[in-house]
């Protein structure tokens, strides 16, 4: 087996606030292979974005990565100096954010921003950089890229702006792209266009892709493997078929049942009672136990990660039984 592009082991990112310690990311482990799409799903506050920021070294005080190992192609990211990190960021690892207006500098033309991103990491002529920027715009489906290079971000629509952000992320042919809810702010038909471009680019360049979202239907169509996060932990991890087709963790099941399109019209939606717990001084034990229909007294002991026969990793004392569907899918 080839070495994964990114291997994260036991990552903990905590925020030290006046009110107490917020364990935004708590003992998270996963890896992504070349050309693989890993979906990171969860609701707000589950720590999915903070996991992405931790990899990029973008955690600001009072937050800090307190424990764990993150290896990018064998390089320990936590051991790097700020200068070393800077050399990797935007070069070997790129990030696409939810709001493209915040990624792009509103007072600089697109060409200036793209050429800067190339010259920051490589010694090449400005003409060569400009040609590469042009090609990158063309590749993400922006019509008349030569003319659009001279445009300012506000002259693009939301969908086009996100394409520019993707083009910038792809400029230096990164090994890993972290996309944080890149289609959430877009309309469905535009979202379809962006997903199409990303799928194509990932296939063509062989870059590994971490796709962070709350939208299960996007993950279902795009991801090879899925990590479901809840209260800072990955509660279930495995192939997209296994996790979404036959979930074993009660939270994954509840989340899937809450999606309206999975339910018959006029009936009641299966709902998860209660709400996500505050991460501030979260008591030990399974954080989902207050809302879980299968919880028993010993769920007050934090469940460890167990790996099942089908390769999925689970954090639950009383997982759902393997269903008939799982047997069908496995065959």
């Amino acid at each position: 087996m080839a070495e994964p592009v990114l291997a994260v082991e036991g990552l903990r990112t905590h925020f030290f606030t006046k009110q107490g310690v917020v364990k935004a990311v708590d003992d998270v482990s996963f890896s992504v292979d070349r050309g693989e799409v890993l979906g990171l799903v969860g609701e707000s506050g589950s720590g999915k974005s903070m996991t992405g920021y931790s990899i990029m070294g973008l955690i600001d005080p009072p937050g800090r990565v307190v424990d764990g190992r993150m290896r990018l192609n064998g390089t320990d990211l936590r051991a790097l100096s700020p200068e070393g990190l800077r050399r990797i960021r935007g070069n070997r690892v790129a990030m696409i954010f939810q709001d493209p207006m915040m990624t792009l500098n509103p007072v600089l033309r697109i060409d200036a921003q793209m050429i800067e991103a190339i010259l920051a990491h490589e010694k090449t002529t400005e003409a060569a950089a400009r040609a590469r920027a042009r090609d990158a715009l063309a590749r993400v489906g922006i019509p008349s890229p030569d003319a659009r290079l001279a445009a300012y971000p506000h002259q693009f629509s939301g969908g086009m702006r996100q394409r520019v952000a993707i083009a910038i992320a792809m400029l230096n042919r990164p090994d890993l792209i972290i996309a944080d809810e890149p289609t959430t702010a877009l309309d469905v038909t535009i979202q379809g266009q962006i997903l199409y471009e990303m799928q194509k680019l990932a296939r063509e360049t062989g870059a590994a892709l971490i796709w962070i979202t709350h939208d299960l239907s996007v993950i279902a169509g795009l991801a090879d493997r899925v990590c479901v996060m809840y209260a800072g932990r990955i509660v279930e991890q495995g192939s997209a078929e296994a996790v979404l087709g036959a979930p074993r963790h009660p939270y994954t099941r509840g989340l899937l049942d809450s999606v309206p399109s999975n339910n018959t019209r006029g009936g009641r939606l299966a709902q998860i009672p209660g709400m996500t717990p505050s991460l501030l001084e979260l008591p030990p034990g399974c954080p989902f136990r207050e809302r879980c229909p299968r919880a028993r007294p010993d769920c007050a002991i934090t469940p460890e990660v167990t790996t099942l026969a089908d390769g999925r990793a689970l954090r639950c004392h009383y997982p759902l039984p393997a269903t008939f569907d799982a047997a069908v899918l496995a065959s």
Partner: protein, 333 residues
């Protein structure tokens, strides 16, 4: 289906005009040709909602669905067209009677953060309108608010708190309680669950359906989320750039969409099936409503475009079984 619709809009239009400023007027005097900018947010729309019905209104940003919702709820005046309530034209009543009537039409907004006054306590947010309109006396306000909060599944002991002390889902419930407090018959829900997490969204959608049964409510449910609309609505209205392009009963619309835009929209609906799909995008962007394409508004993106579509806008054709479609392909069918 011959009953009188609860609310009906006929030929409803809303134009937003950016008037010329002084500089432009002087410029025009001096021979420049600066024109007023007109956005036809809603263009000649007919829509009717029967009592007890849930009508879903879908479309992408800028299609005019929120504006239409505000027109229906009476929050915006019509630029042209008529509004009927129980078959009677609205806007012809004396002000006191019109105010009483307006109470029956309420709106629930998208953003549970922006639509609640942060400096008011829940008891005032929910209790202000019913007292002001004389539905309950000031003395009964406390009990009345407690009853409303209980109805939407909130703890009545929290009524002295401020909005910021609640979570997103709880705030959505406060917004619903506020609308229900004046005993409405018709509710316009404008993306009322869009800001909520999936598990919370399911709770609020269930609440909407429970309230509909318990209070005999009628909804116009505006959403960009086709999954939500499919789950809730009896009938769906699809809008594109200010015009209705298709209406149909929910099951039929999702099974056999007629209009090419509806087809494209439905193809993008995410399904939570663990199956890798190849995304086939529809081309192009949504044109600016400031300068919509001539003829059929959808023609620059339409895969079935004909010469005729570029020249003349199609009317809404009746395609049978309570369905209409604004497409030349529907002519004569």
């Amino acid at each position: 289906m011959n009953a009188v619709p609860l609310i009906e809009l006929r030929g409803a239009s809303k134009r937003f005009v950016k008037s010329l400023d002084l500089a432009a007027k002087i410029g025009n005097r001096l021979g420049a040709h600066v024109r007023e900018e007109v956005v036809r947010a809603v263009d000649e729309v007919d829509i009717a909602v029967d009592p007890g019905e849930v009508v879903g209104l879908v479309g992408e940003s800028g299609c005019g669905k929120s504006t239409l919702g505000r027109l229906a709820a009476g929050l915006l005046p019509l630029s042209s067209g008529e509004r009927y309530w129980h078959g009677e034209p609205l806007g012809k009543l004396a002000s006191a009677a019109a105010r009483r009537q307006q109470l029956k039409l309420q709106m629930i907004f998208q953003d549970p953060y922006a639509s609640l006054n942060p400096r008011m306590r829940v008891i005032d947010i929910v209790g202000e309108a019913p007292v002001a309109h004389g539905l309950v006396g000031a003395r009964q306000r406390r009990d009345y608010v407690a009853m409303m909060l209980h109805r939407v599944g909130l703890d009545a002991t929290l009524m002295r708190r401020y909005p910021h002390q609640f979570s997103g889902g709880q705030r959505a419930r406060i917004g619903i309680a506020r609308a229900l407090a004046v005993e409405p018959e018709f509710l316009v829900c404008d993306e009322s669950v869009a800001a909520l997490d999936v598990s919370i969204q399911a709770q609020v959608l269930n609440l909407f359906m429970d309230l509909k049964k318990a209070l005999n409510l009628t909804y116009l449910f505006i959403s960009h989320d086709l999954g939500v609309v499919r789950f809730l609505s009896d009938r769906v209205v699809v809008m594109y750039l200010g015009r209705v392009v298709e209406t149909a009963p929910t099951a039929e619309l999702f099974e056999t969409p007629h209009h090419p835009y509806t087809k494209a929209l439905l193809a993008e609906v995410g399904r939570v099936e663990p199956k890798k799909r190849t995304y086939i995008p529809i081309k192009g962007e949504i044109p600016s409503p400031l300068d919509p394409p001539a003829g059929c508004h959808f023609h620059p993106r339409c895969p079935y475009v004909m010469q005729r579509c570029r020249e003349t806008a199609p009317p809404l054709f009746d395609v049978g079984a309570g369905r209409t479609s604004r497409c030349w392909l529907a002519e004569g069918s």
